[in-house]
């Protein structure tokens, strides 16, 4: 059952697809306090029992269970994802409360700043504050966590489904200098039989970082390169940023300007801020005409044959504005007069560090919403990336409504899950970020984002070969399996490491699993379900299972439990029921070990990783391939334990169902 309560003047956020009539009377489950507008305008709170668990908030720091921290829904480009952060790139305002005696969900359809004190001030109290107070609050009730998750998806619409090749392994790096280097990366993979389906192009490909342009010198024959790559079964996936450089004669700028497609300051002049290309205008994605214009910009690339894109810097990230730069310079000038004032030096530092993404800049530009309202950016800040995704997806549909394109974005808001996937932004080569990515998976799924992944190996900082290998072992199960790293960090293509054969072997398991994973993914999307689920969703009565944070249910048959610690030789696993342990070294080389319900320590050397399959079920394991084009939906092996009579319905990309029966090996 879904209840809706409107506060203030809610915005059309595109998050909800069901028309839920407003409910009467008091809001169930929550204490509600309405205050002054624009200043903690509405406060929702509830008490918690010691054993209550909170799921949700999608892309955030910390564990599967969100209890014990203070989160802020405010899309932010902050690259250091330490556990004290309150915001990442997205804003996903869904929370499920799961306790001994209660179960409900709450969703704030609110595009402004929302603060979630979930047992931070007091462990037994949750307080959720909408700064603006213009929102729809939805209360979700149901018999189970799964039922509420499904109900929420029905409210917000079916999840995006990418083409199957997007489940292939994708190599990426900020810093590929041009076609020659890109060709070499592809060649090194093929030469060593390291599977590969995609190559991301980061901002390096652009002419002066301008969207929809190409650096001629680095890519003298783009079309030829694209075609060669496709012959090699590799998809090129260019990046597109939010900002459009202010430069007359640059087609995207000129056409956007002519279409009045850019955000403006209060007085109507263009809002400008520095990002990679220098001073930029920002498309007003809140506006239908602007979205249409932006979507059209992809057309030449689609016509050239590109089938996938990633949208970046769309919180939007602002390095600085003329105004924030002036403020910092003024501080510097003042400070330079008093070199003896050592305490002032902290302010100086803070002045420059604080230029980027500052609240004042976010309050200084305006949108023309679809409903005609002119709205200051900070009121609807969290929609920006989501509406960029929407613009892109609308452009795809206008180009070819029947084709699936790959699209994933850094910033997102619920609703964008219908148009594309997400990656988890600029993580680091940290072991703790391997676990952080894992913890985000079920909460992202809960919020509708089924197609997601993290930068395998870590984006910032230098990776090590063991960390990359353990990242890849998680990556085997992620819908988006991308190895990505930053300029000036250690190069982390698989073939650069002494244990590259171990890594290649790990990828063979991915390709053997793609038919199954894609099938489970599409089923989850079409049935409004989740691909990754906390154990609590499947075993709500099992007290041990509900508190297990380092394992996840995957699809209908499986459980995953990666190794998260450097130098570990194995890990503990709790089995909520009997399962078959598949201990993989490669698609050809794995142990099958039946394990009974309960606790187990599983030995897992560096090249080994586990997949658990429920007793009486099995998974179809394909013979694999070096790219998805060559995957054959036949000759499946069917590892399973006591799976006599079991059958798996494989949903293929062409929508055909293929019935697979268990065979004893």
């Amino acid at each position: 059952m879904i209840y809706r309560y409107a506060f203030g003047q809610p915005y059309d956020t595109d998050a909800v697809v069901l028309d839920v009539p407003p409910s009467e009377g008091a809001v169930p489950h929550l204490d509600v306090a309405v205050g002054e507008k624009g200043q903690d305008a509405v406060r929702f709170s509830f008490s918690m029992d010691p054993e209550d668990i909170l799921f949700g908030l999608g892309e955030t720091v910390r564990g599967q269970n969100k209890r014990g921290h203070r989160y802020v829904s405010w899309a932010s480009d902050i690259p250091n994802h330490t556990e004290n952060l309150q915001s990442l790139y997205a804003a996903h305002n869904l929370l499920l409360v799961f306790g001994k005696n209660r179960l409900f969900g709450l969703y704030l359809d609110d595009p402004g700043r929302v603060t979630w004190d979930l047992g931070w001030t007091r462990r037994d109290r949750a307080e959720i504050v909408s700064e603006n107070g213009d929102l729809n609050l939805y209360i979700l009730e149901g018999d189970s966590l799964k039922a509420i998750a499904r109900e929420f998806r029905q409210l917000t619409g079916r999840s995006y489904i990418p083409p199957r090749w997007a489940f292939g392994y994708i190599q990426s790096r900020w810093g590929y200098a041009g076609e020659a280097e890109a060709r070499e990366v592809i060649r090194e993979h093929r030469k060593r039989h390291i599977p590969l389906d995609g190559l991301c192009l980061d901002i390096d490909y652009m002419d002066d970082f301008k969207n929809f342009t190409w650096r001629e010198k680095a890519f003298p024959n783009l079309q030829g390169f694209l075609e060669d790559a496709r012959k090699d079964h590799v998809h090129l996936i260019p990046i597109i940023d939010a900002g459009i450089r202010q430069e007359e004669g640059y087609a995207a700028y000129d056409s956007g300007k002519a279409r009045q497609a850019f955000c403006t300051r209060e007085g109507g002049e263009d809002f400008l801020a520095a990002v990679w290309p220098g001073m930029c205008c920002f498309p007003d994605f809140m506006n239908r005409d602007a979205r249409q214009w932006f979507g059209e910009q992809y057309r030449p690339l689609l016509e050239a044959g590109f089938e996938g894109f990633w949208n970046d810097m769309n919180e939007p990230a602002l390095f600085y504005t003329e105004q924030s730069l002036d403020r910092a310079f003024a501080t510097a000038r003042e400070q330079m007069k008093h070199p003896e004032d050592y305490e002032g030096m902290w302010f100086l530092n803070a002045a420059f560090n604080g230029m980027a993404n500052n609240p004042e800049d976010y309050r200084s530009f305006w949108h023309r919403m679809d409903d005609g309202r002119r709205v200051r950016h900070d009121r609807v800040h969290n929609l920006y990336g989501a509406f960029m995704t929407r613009a892109t997806a609308e452009g795809f549909r206008a180009f070819d409504p029947d084709r699936r394109f790959l699209l994933f974005s850094r910033s997102s808001f619920i609703g964008a899950h219908r148009n594309g996937g997400v990656w988890m932004g600029d993580n680091h080569s940290w072991w703790s970020h391997l676990k952080l990515a894992f913890h985000m998976l079920p909460n992202l799924n809960l919020c509708g984002f089924l197609f997601c992944g993290c930068d395998l190996g870590g984006f910032g900082c230098d990776t090590t070969e063991d960390l990359l290998e353990r990242f890849l072992q998680l990556g085997v199960f992620l819908p988006l399996m991308r190895n990505h790293s930053a300029l000036h960090t250690r190069e982390q293509e698989i073939y650069r490491f002494s244990i590259w054969e171990t890594m290649r072997d790990t990828l063979t398991v991915r390709y053997a699993l793609i038919p199954y994973l894609y099938s489970e993914f599409v089923k989850a999307a079409e049935e409004d379900g989740m691909l990754f689920r906390p154990l609590a969703f499947d075993y709500p009565e099992d007290a041990r299972a509900v508190h297990t944070e380092d394992q996840l249910m995957l699809g209908g048959e499986c459980m995953i439990a990666p190794v998260f610690d450097q130098n570990a030789a194995g890990r503990y696993v709790y089995l909520p029921e009997d399962m078959l342990l598949l201990r993989f070294r490669s698609a050809e080389d794995y142990d099958e070990i039946p394990l009974e319900q309960g606790d187990h320590y599983v030995e897992l050397q560096l090249g080994e990783f586990p997949l658990f399959v429920k007793r009486h079920a099995f998974i179809p394991l394909s013979p694999g391939a070096e790219y998805t084009d060559a995957l054959d939906d036949a000759a499946f092996r069917t590892p399973g334990w006591d799976a006599e009579g079991a059958k798996y319905e494989l949903l293929r990309e062409d929508r055909e169902m293929l019935g697979i029966e268990w065979k004893k090996e």
Copy 2:
């Protein structure tokens, strides 16, 4: 067996107390390459088997096992202890290599920069590089990890032993405004019967942050306050920083200047850098006369009755020098001419961020060593904090050679372990830092630092009540049990939280354990042993034990295994032998659960924590107290399993042995 190999012209670092004659022939275990001086002058390397484990390096990031990262021995004031860091505040150049077929230790007595690539570039290779090449290399051989650890302590001397009251609970915060607030903190503890033995005073107590001064307004009657606190059984523990403000008329500056006790630039003029008090001179702790002068500065405080101090900022931390400030200003001036140059803005940011602790400043001042050599700071950088500790300890001994004083330092070098303890510096209120502190414990012990602890609750960022409670549960076993936090963070005295009674109950366990912990501590010091040991030290043949990173042996009878994860309801524990689980809620309220060798999941709600006692042994549990003065070495309870006939020799502070026999309850 200890072998010594000299390279270049080694310095007298005060690290080693044994006179080991130089060895002839090739260095065993290592490949050695000698290059150019001052530029990766000496390189030691060795190959590693997949199962080899590396212990050592004392205070560093990452796990108990140091394999898989690149560390740099370079004492650094970096407050964000993320896992990519290469340096913390100390430099502890000891490494133990423990594999199936080999076992040895290596110690580089080298006060300059040393880089440790321990399987970072390649997982199967370690490379250790001394930048300067002036060092003694010691190779340690023995029958066991324990034997090598003992051998190393014999080489470097007996560990510092503090007075027993220093094992009491200590409250601290940067920001206590003065006597009134300090008295209130004490009162709030006593009122609620929260045990307390010490109160640290941070830089706030000083007059303009000047060492050995007091802010009269805040502490109008220091002597009276000190005496009242002692009547209340609370020890006041002031902070002392490394830098001495350049200010004529300020006694410490005038006397230091007169004694030529400060470091100089190459031409002989004072080296100046900004720290808390503004522009400071830096005592030349490498010089005997300067140390004596510095030690004398403590005398008035000792005469006033202070019995404990903490030495800080002694890497030394440098906020900036006139020179580094000029460089940053020059960058700013240049950049301000080109506001359109957005890439230049990154340099501008970097210029200000890079002013602190920069290599150029560390190359611009000089020491007069005890042997008469004049040496540039960077050559001996890592000694600075250790020699400050030495100066302080020498001052204590000159004042009263028979008394134990409390002393702990932020920066350290092996050798300083004879003169004082350490805390782990400016950690954060992060769950990952709870685990990081745990991982440092055995490695610090290995390097001689038995008296150590971390800032419980976390120094930087805001704590939560569950995090503080779990930190306290670890703190129960730490020699230094201090709750410390930074200015502008959430106040984290126990009584400020809704679950303060749970925290107080946790402290009761500490006080019940103090007689045992102090006894085990003193035995470890006197027998050149370790209080905290990786399981590999006690169970080298047990393959599971040697890879266990989240448990530690404690003293002769115990094992500890804290909860490290937020919202956890328990944890797994591997028992290398039969043990009795004591699941504590308070000193009066605990479960005794015999557990057999093997794997166990132990339920541990927020207020619960475990201590494991070996079968056939027991621990003496005193009735506790609210301060150590009131601890009574009688009426011990003796929890143990099958401990018939077992006896524990309790070493008391007065050096008397008290025999305690097991009694069935």
